[in-house]
């Protein structure tokens, strides 16, 4: 494993200004929609547990791409939609961070946390979970009663399994989309800035 990781984070023009003025960028989470707060807080807890505690006053991590389109296309494609609301003036920041300061996860699997669903390793694992719910007449939707709620939450740890899991269920490893979270970005870690207007 390399000591540093190249990544790309997409930020609005005001955030770029903040980074240049203060020399560091963090997030206070004020702009995170309510329906995503639990998931983001969960990722923040994982970052604290696996990498280290946040700086004072910081609860939510910053997000970046490490493999936007798999190993062959790591940078986010600025022509794609959805990076920011259409028309937003933004910047793609390329930065290099120490490996020990970031937590990598699988972007597609991350949707199990966002959507609060069971993160199965394989098709047969998904079916086994569904059948276990059906056997006791439990609806397959959050909030699950115990012991299912704990099983679902425990399954989310698989977002950190980057090269594992059934390829038939999760796709080829080299095509997987990888994201990184970290507490802060320092101006001296920035390598390149590419301004763009979001589509």
């Amino acid at each position: 494993m390399e000591d540093s990781v190249r990544l790309w984070t997409l930020r609005t023009a005001p955030e770029r200004t903040l980074l240049e003025r203060q020399g560091v960028l963090r997030t206070d989470g004020r702009r995170i929609p309510l329906y995503r707060r639990n998931a983001y807080a969960w990722m923040g807890e994982q970052l604290a547990r696996r990498v280290g505690p946040p700086p004072p006053g910081c609860r939510y991590p910053l997000w970046a791409w490490v493999q936007y389109g798999g190993e062959d296309r790591p940078q986010p494609d600025l022509r794609a939609r959805g990076h920011c609301p259409p028309g937003t003036r933004a910047v793609r920041i390329e930065a290099v961070l120490p490996r020990q300061s970031i937590l990598l996860s699988d972007f597609q699997k991350w949707h199990a946390v966002l959507n609060r669903t069971y993160l199965a390793q394989s098709e047969s694992d998904a079916r086994a979970f569904e059948e276990s719910l059906q056997r006791v007449g439990v609806t397959d939707a959050w909030p699950y009663p115990e012991p299912f709620a704990s099983r679902v939450i425990q399954s989310w740890e698989r977002v950190f399994e980057l090269s594992e899991g059934d390829e038939a269920h999760w796709g080829p490893v080299r095509e997987r989309q990888l994201q990184a979270v970290f507490w802060e970005l320092h101006a001296e870690q920035v390598r390149r800035l590419t301004p763009f207007v979001a589509r």
Binding site: G82, H169, W170
Partner: protein, 103 residues
Amino acid sequence: MMAPGPQSKLKRSASSTAAWVLLGALLGSVTGFAAGGGLSYPGDCKSSTLQRAASKNGCSTHSGSNHLTVKKDGKVITQIPHTVKPNGTCREIIKVLNTQCGG
């Protein structure tokens, strides 16, 4: 050796059909489903197909960073990545869309 008569031909044909039906059912149970709605996994794991389904029966879509948020009755029911792949994430999203938006 005697050539098989019409009855044995029929028997063989019936048993072969049954075998294909069973094989089809087994393959279906391993690779796909379309439970309770119109979308099937993995065949419908395309962004445009999921978006269309997410705009029916009181469901609506809203863009939000790297995901498309699907709401019904003011509540978020699922979030779809902009890049949809035929994987476990799509499988779970299809289940929700089939149940909540009728596929």
